[in-house]
Point group: C2
DNA sequence: CTGTTAGCGCCTTCAG
DNA sequence: CTGAAGGCGCTAACAG
């Protein structure tokens, strides 16, 4: 710990500790002369107030806890960045806990029991560290109601859902609707869709968007065009093969994530189907790699930064005891690249 | 702050605060009976010791600060994860500061002045929070000597170099040597190399590895095979075109990062050069996208987790006042995929 | 404008 | 085996 304290400063500057505190915090006017003297000593000794003592006294830490299910999962860093962006502005600090769920239990999110104790521990330690609130960042959008109990401390969930607390999410349904609208605008009518696992919230929501578009734009509704994938490239690959074997092929495929879109591309390349000339493809998530594929794929960008920012913003409000105002749900943005073209007339 | 303190517990359990403290910390034997009584009250009131008070008293926080130049840059999360992995084991907590350099100043790392104050502030606040040490995570390997002053507190740099303190890096030279050795083993002799900007340490180190391989394996040394890129895909693209216009084409290209390897692939696809049949390509970094390209590209994986782990480990030693032992430098691992084949005989 | 002082919640020595 | 009490470094009355 830094050895020098307020007392030492006071002694050296020939003032009382109170005065030092006042110049430090600007809580009261101090004669220019003395102030400068104090400041000089502070400078000389490289003094920095002991935050632990301050917190103890002030009963405020200006610190929030962030629990990330896994910082190495693609969506998390950008959300943290958003939290940070906002926290910086309100002079809040971040105590980060990384649950390392991906490494510890893989993708078995349904088995809550396998990670509840990790979360509980994290909360407990954060609470002990006197955080004023918590942001919980999930790695996959799902319902987390009842996962943790913060004993009344404010908490905001980011990138996941909960029924009892506040959670910040992006507008999944709107996103897939927008993707479809774009495809339609390009002239597509027969549009295949490769979904994620159907027990997941994003899959359902994105499907809603798809369905809404099918209805509104009066597209042919053909169940054969709807394929259930599992988020992995493999499934994109096989389902594309199925789609292309249909009597009436789709002219475009919307994959519910970029990874499956890669599967689509692999299948296409194998079948000598050229993208986007013979088949248009859209992904979802705007993963980094989507910009490096050949062709670069058109996809929906997730408003991750905004999710983090809003989460922090709402949390700050709650900490201040104000009612968190419901802001409009952050929306995805279509990133137009090279994997979509107008269908060729045959 | 949690309202209930040790005093309340003591009162309710009909013991002194000292006793509560003893059962909490196991600092002394307490009669089973009383212990259980105390524990019960603690449980009932959901009591958690106030860490600020503990720290103040104990003069230990069990917390280290992590300063990340930018958490959204690809290498950083995995390093944080490594730090975490190690910190967990020693029951240390992490106070994360995200400098957000990429968003704030882009890639202008040479202009130290533009971000020194961010770093200084971060250190200052961390010090005030009584961290016992600091890990600084750079976003690009470079010499950071003199960037910050921690006033004697232990600091370890990860993923960057420094002359005055301890820094953890991976073995860049060995990595590119190994990449070359692999290419040679596959039968390549004329191997083109596309470097990063030549004022960067990794470029120089990776070039050393290349050169060492050229010498040891007695490959034809042809300056025309050496191209200076700038880490971006564009440069990979143009330099590949140059390489392929040579009278004697290379049969393989080693790009000093995966991004430039994408440029190589774009150029190849445009020139109807098939990878890996007509040209082998290797990347560097094992970026996520390298596994999604078609073909999936062979690349060198960076030991990011290990770097973080070692950094934390060394820091812990320094905090304990022990001399940090120099461990062997973490090494890259070759990830064999589909972009390298043996050259065809003509 | 400045100083004195009582705690914040906890740990720990000393005394029983 | 248990309790009383001082003090960690700082803030904020209260008093001058």
């Amino acid at each position: 710990m830094s050895e020098v304290g307020i007392k030492e400063i006071a002694a050296r500057a020939n003032v009382s500790t109170a005065t030092v505190s006042y110049v430090l915090n600007g809580t009261r006017n101090v004669k220019l002369n003395t102030r400068e003297r104090v400041l000089r000593v502070i400078e000389e000794l490289n003094y920095r107030p002991n935050n632990a003592a301050q917190s103890l006294k002030r009963k405020r830490t200006n610190t929030i806890g962030v629990i990330a299910e896994d910082v190495t999962v693609f969506n998390v860093p950008e959300i943290i960045d958003g939290i940070n962006d906002c926290a910086d502005k309100m002079d809040m600090h971040i105590l980060l806990t990384n649950l390392r769920l991906d490494k510890r239990i893989g993708r078995n999110f349904d088995q809550t029991d396998r990670y509840r104790h990790f979360a509980d521990n994290a909360v407990s330690e954060l609470l002990s560290k006197q955080v004023e609130g918590i942001v919980y960042i999930g790695v996959h959008p799902r319902d987390l109601t009842g996962l943790i109990d913060t004993l009344g401390k404010p908490i905001v969930y980011a990138y996941c859902y909960t029924q009892s607390e506040i959670s910040i999410q992006y507008h999944d349904e709107q996103a897939s609707y927008e993707a479809m609208a774009y495809l339609v605008k390009k002239g597509h009518k027969r549009i295949g869709i490769i979904s994620g696992t159907m027990d997941s919230i994003p899959s359902r929501l994105r499907f809603n968007g798809y369905y809404k578009a099918v209805t509104e734009f009066e597209l042919p509704f053909d169940p054969q065009l709807i394929k259930m994938g599992n988020w992995e490239a493999e499934s994109g690959y096989w389902l594309t093969k199925e789609l292309m074997e249909l009597d009436e092929r789709p002219t475009a495929i919307l994959a519910m994530n970029d990874v499956m879109a890669v599967g689509v591309m692999r299948a296409a390349s194998e079948m000598n189907v050229q993208i986007p000339r013979d088949l248009s493809v859209m992904g979802f998530d705007n993963r980094e790699f989507s910009d490096y594929l050949i062709p670069r794929i058109t996809t929906m960008d997730l408003p991750l930064h905004e999710i983090g920012y809003q989460a922090m913003d709402s949390l700050a409000l709650m900490i201040k005891g104000e009612q968190a105002v419901r802001k409009p749900m952050p929306e995805c943005k279509l990133i137009e690249r090279d994997s979509v073209a107008s269908p060729r007339l045959r």
